[in-house]
Subunit: 162 residues, 2 copies
């Protein structure tokens, strides 16, 4: 069966609200990036918050694999939604396809984003100001919500922001 035959349900207000809630309550996620030399996909954990419009923001070290990867190719995706008890695949999760944009160091956007990030993740204050840490804003392209078995939704950038 091809990917085109996936049974995608019509988008509802409830699906959009679930997707936004998964993203806005997440303190971490797993980012998929492209390894610069090999082109292989790489899954790594990142700390996470959201900007004022709902776009994800991450705080990353230049020493982590995802940072040079995002600088070489901004295409990435972010998985949020943690499994609870029982079958992990029965729990909702969101894959957000994004293009990463590095936040200019010491610029106006960084001040706003850092304030939001540290309010959401206070323990990150221990390292946020170290020289090799930078914020990236992940511009949503589209998203896939899996709300549990057989409940898949395809969401747009407009669904996720605002």
């Amino acid at each position: 069966m091809s990917d085109n035959q996936r049974p995608i349900l019509p988008t509802t207000d409830e699906a959009v609200a679930m997707a936004k809630a998964l993203l806005r309550t997440a303190h971490h996620g797993v980012i998929a990036t492209l390894e610069p030399d090999s082109g292989r996909p790489v899954a790594t954990r990142v700390g996470l918050a959201t900007d004022a419009d709902g776009a994800p923001v991450i705080l990353v070290s230049a020493l982590a694999a995802h940072t040079p990867a995002l600088r070489a190719d901004p295409r990435c995706s972010l998985l949020v939604g943690e499994p609870g008890k029982g079958d992990p695949l029965a729990h909702p999760r969101l894959t957000l396809h994004c293009d990463a944009r590095e936040v200019e160091h010491a610029g106006a956007d960084e001040a706003r984003i850092a304030a939001r990030y540290l309010a959401h993740n206070p323990k990150a204050a221990l390292y946020a100001t170290l020289g090799d840490f930078r914020y990236f804003r992940l511009e949503p392209v589209r998203a896939s919500l899996n709300a549990g078995f057989g409940r898949a939704y395809a969401l747009t950038r407009a669904d996720m922001l605002g």
Copy 2:
């Protein structure tokens, strides 16, 4: 700072043991695959067990985005290691770079792998025999262990298996 300057610690028996324990105790992980048409990296959740030699095995639906992706390009990576309390980046996690190999349906390997998978994830018996579900074995290529801040190890296939 380039990725080549990452401070990788010499591999120890303890690091290898931690990496194997993270993988063998995981019931789920996040897989990064390559979207066939766009080449974008995609992060999705998968159910997980290990084969007799320690290689990860996943049970996936043809309806999920990762399945056609792995059939088109077997390169993938798997993140395991769940955050506990406190800063999520202080908790150990493992990124395992793999090449996926679909397990032949109704073959001898499938019987062994299904028995191991269902012993590890009993609730998956509800859907494991549905027609669109297949097992893939993820052949380890190399791995990155992040054992907490500043504690990074580069592991080989030989470290992870056996």
